[in-house]
């Protein structure tokens, strides 16, 4: 494949022109009534592609202000909050307050999307559920997400990421063959659910472009995990057996497994005839190619185990980089296991825009992932990170509702809106804050 293609793709997609290009969701206003990871991640995906996301936070703050590895804080900030809170506007307002409800409905009139991950029915208790919202704005799209959705025998049950991983059977199928089930190393069920929320919201926006109609979307966290478990369900349905745990071996593609090398691990996959032949050539074992040529025969349990043992014995004598180079040469997949610093420090990801650097007004220079995919006309971008509670109250109430500063102060005096709590550092600005950096208005 000629280098002209890569040159063209780099010019078309590279990070360098990101801020010269439009944003896909420019002009879409999202009212974000979410906390923790799942709901906020959905809002984050929209925000990095240009939506104006206004976050409404309870007085004690988003729970992620307190969830952080080893109880570590940085300039008062929890890394657990920062991870899914970019490009937002931060309002301190609790919708359970009757005056706040009134104000919220004013926002709804001027917005496109309302997103919540509270206990199902909580928004109704406060009089801000879909039934009420569509009265003031029939074009509104409201998405609610919870563990078990808004109706059904299990509606109202509390859920967390690990509930979704365990009740959705992801954990059951993750782990080594002769060991117990394992959670993912991250809150994967939250993040993938956020993705399905975001897809359904943009699909609803697309429908609204044609029809002018809004709608309500009910998402169930556990169900979305179930959806992503590929062949698990049809296998159990047809065989009556649970899908077994198989470590790193892929039971549906052979060979595909993680192997020990002299200096680390390498994943090798070669399924098509050409790829498998390439691997056998690289191993100097065309006899294996002759013996296991048919991919379906290769997948039989005893054949797969025998073949994987041959590959393992070969890989053991090699360095990881040698196997990767053989993969490049012979056309099979061979990859090392990347860790966070491998990606963080590699300039190649910054050229792609999948890792971005920006200067945050409040917290200084930052470098972290920006959501995929890379788009030629409407690339995603990072502008700023997480903020103390309520720091954008003035900006948002003035810009969106047109309230003068005096009235905004009045709302604060009446405790309808509020800012951070000086007694709780992780809701506050950095200790050395100058009192103005990062404030958008006045």
């Amino acid at each position: 494949m000629g280098s002209d293609f890569f040159q063209w793709a780099s010019e078309t997609l590279g990070f360098q022109e990101t801020f010269l290009k439009p944003e896909a969701l420019n002009g879409v206003r999202v009212l974000d009534v979410t906390a923790v990871v799942l709901g906020p991640s959905a809002a984050d995906y929209l925000a990095e592609f240009g939506a104006e996301v206004i976050k409404f936070e309870a007085p004690q703050g988003d729970q992620m202000r307190y969830v952080t590895p080893y109880a570590y804080f940085w300039k008062n900030m929890s890394p657990g909050l920062w991870e899914q809170q970019h490009n937002r506007y931060w309002v301190g307002m609790h919708l359970g307050n009757p005056k706040a409800r009134e104000l919220f409905l004013e926002f709804v009139k001027k917005s496109d999307v309302v997103l919540d991950n509270l206990t199902p029915g909580r928004m109704a208790e406060w009089g801000v559920d879909y039934k009420e919202l569509k009265k003031v704005n029939p074009r509104i799209i409201q998405l609610h997400v919870s563990g078990f959705g808004s109706w059904g025998p299990w509606t109202g049950r509390t859920s967390y990421d690990a509930i979704a991983q365990s009740m959705g059977c992801l954990s059951y199928v993750t782990g080594f063959e002769d060991r117990g089930p394992l959670k993912s190393g991250v809150w994967i069920a939250d993040w993938i659910n956020g993705l399905m929320c975001a897809v359904s919201i943009v699909a609803a926006l697309n429908y609204r472009e044609k029809s002018g109609e809004g709608q309500f979307i009910d998402q169930q966290q556990v169900e979305n995990v179930i959806r992503m478990l590929d062949w698990t369900w049809i296998y159990t349905y047809l065989t009556g057996e649970n899908r077994p745990r198989a470590g790193n071996r892929d039971l549906a593609i052979c060979p595909s497994d993680l192997f020990d090398c002299l200096d680390g691990w390498v994943a090798i996959t070669a399924f098509s005839e050409e790829e498998f032949r390439g691997l056998c050539e690289a191993m100097g074992r065309l006899d294996l190619y002759e013996k296991y040529r048919d991919p379906l025969e290769r997948l039989r349990d005893e054949n797969a185990r025998a073949l994987l043992a041959e590959v393992a014995a070969w890989a053991k004598e090699k360095h990881v980089s040698e196997v990767e180079e053989l993969g490049d040469k012979y056309g099979f997949a061979a990859t090392r296991v990347l860790e966070v610093d491998d990606v963080y420090n590699d300039e190649a990801y910054r050229e792609r825009g999948s890792i971005q650097e920006y200067e945050d007004e409040m917290y200084g220079p930052f470098r972290e992932p920006c959501y995929p995919p890379r788009m030629s006309e409407t690339p995603s971008r990072l502008k700023w990170g997480a903020r103390p509670i309520g720091i954008d109250n003035e900006y948002v109430f003035n810009k969106v509702l047109g309230l003068p500063l005096e009235e905004i102060k009045e709302l604060e005096r009446a405790s309808v809106i509020y800012k951070w709590n000086p007694d709780i550092p992780s809701t506050c600005p950095p200790p050395d804050w100058d009192g103005k950096s990062g404030v958008k208005f006045p």
């Binding site: 109880a71 697309n206 899908r243 860790e339």
Partner: protein
């Protein structure tokens, strides 16, 4: 439906009933579809990232045309233990939903020309070949947009379409496991590194048990395509989308990057522990495993009260004590001494009862670590149509998971048919879009183009 089943454990019964009315599974087929004006050409080959992306679009109503080479997509043969139903493996049957299946050999000039003609009618094209392959056939985005400037072209591949790694590894194919290895999440998934009871041979990176690399990659692709469609409504312009599944994984790796940026430190594999929230883990119980959590101070106090272990609360009073790799195994074992006396159902009862006490100290959450056989029997999933059974004229009795969008009130996602044989829709699609009659199809077939 029985009202009690609709309202379940809802805090607001009227709300549950209202949403039920808005999203009744029985009404799905009567409602419109969000993307019914969109034609998708899915050229993916050997990739469930591509297939999942086009599944999501098809569930939303897009007309998805699967273009396979004459011998079929090798993805049909990716199936556990080699188990096939006629020409399709089990995973393929799950992700062939609502798609029209045609054949075309794009490596022949006549086949390439036919693809160009289809592109004139299409809104979206998805491909998963090695980067630059389509370009080398004269079928890349730069060439196709000349025929159709509104085209949205989405390429999915491990290394993406440009950059040093893409150039270096352009000859490698895209697979789930390899996407997972480059997605960073795998480096911290697996048995806990710092637990002395875990044998050394298990202290290694572990993949998520499903095809998470492919499914997350496909999910991001479908997101990008929907964004591009929205942008096109505003501007009329198509675009090029470059979706790298590993980038899709490391972008959702919790706080790994942020913590590294702030502190210069990396996380280690924690197994079922969690160094940011604990207890938040799986515990052995009488009939398997159950999840149990109570990680903030009040919730931890509630856990200790339920177990009648005030000594544990004294020993590990704040998150500083509970979030260390040394203490978590100790806390785990103490809690397990208690959970092993009960079944997961009994644990749920005990904790639900505690949660109703007016003097409760906090919230404790529990749930069974389900096995697939359990899940298929649960009433909640049955009533919510989480799974759909088909008696297909060709593939027989099968069951697949329903659309992630089936509870959109106005444009619910749906499955119309599960799968089609190789080339089964050639006559329909080539007639509809290009006007080919039976003799033309026969001619193309004899030349090996179809």
């Amino acid at each position: 439906m029985d009202e009690k089943k609709v309202v379940g454990m809802a805090i607001n019964e009227d709300y549950a009933k209202f949403i039920y009315q808005e999203t009744r599974p029985e009404d799905v087929l009567e409602k419109p579809e969000a993307l019914d004006d969109i034609v998708v050409l899915d050229m993916s080959y050997g990739s469930f990232a591509g297939l999942y992306a086009s599944s999501l679009l098809s569930e939303l109503g897009a007309e998805v045309i699967r273009i396979e080479p004459p011998e079929g997509d090798i993805a049909r043969k990716m199936t556990p233990y080699g188990k096939m139903i006629k020409d399709a493996g089990l995973p393929y049957i799950v992700e062939a939903r609502n798609k029209y299946h045609i054949t075309l050999d794009i490596t022949k000039e006549e086949g390439a020309e036919i693809l160009r003609n289809l592109v004139r009618h299409a809104d979206v094209l998805i491909e998963t070949f090695k980067p630059g392959y389509m370009h080398s056939l004269g079928l890349g985005y730069a060439q196709l947009k000349e025929l159709n400037p509104r085209l949205i072209y989405c390429a999915i591949h491990t290394y993406g379409q440009f950059g040093r790694e893409a150039e270096k590894h352009a000859n490698q194919p895209d697979y789930d496991l390899n996407n997972q290895t480059r997605g960073v999440i795998m480096s911290i998934t697996g048995e806990p590194d710092l637990d002395p009871e875990v044998p050394q041979e298990y202290k290694r990176p572990l993949r998520q048990g499903n095809w998470m690399g492919w499914y997350v990659g496909g999910g991001w692709a479908a997101f990008g395509i929907n964004l591009a469609i929205f942008h096109r409504y505003k501007t009329g312009k198509g675009q090029f989308i470059d979706c790298s599944p590993p980038e899709g994984l490391f972008a959702i790796s919790n706080y790994l990057f942020q913590y590294y940026h702030m502190s210069g430190r990396k996380m280690v594999r924690a197994g079922n522990y969690d160094y940011a929230v604990f207890p938040y883990s799986y515990f052995k119980c009488k009939d398997g495993y159950a999840f149990l959590s109570g990680f903030t101070d009040p919730n931890w106090a509630a856990v200790c009260e339920i177990m009648n272990r005030p000594d544990l609360q004294q020993q590990f009073p704040t998150i500083k004590e509970r979030l260390t790799p040394e203490n978590q195994p100790k806390i785990q074992h103490e809690i397990e001494k208690w959970t092993q006396n009960y079944t997961s159902e009994e644990l749920l009862e005990i904790i639900t009862e505690y949660s109703r006490r007016p003097d409760k100290k906090g919230t404790v959450v529990t749930g069974r670590l389900e096995e697939p056989k359990d899940t298929l029997q649960r009433e909640h999933w049955k009533l919510r149509h989480t799974f759909v059974e088909f008696d297909d004229p060709y593939y027989g009795k099968i069951l697949v998971q329903d659309s992630s969008f089936h509870q959109m009130s106005r444009t619910p996602g749906r499955i119309k048919w599960p799968c089609r044989p190789i080339g089964a829709d050639n006559a329909l699609i080539y007639k509809k879009f290009l006007g080919y009659g039976p003799s033309k199809l026969e001619e193309l077939k004899s030349k090996g183009v179809l």
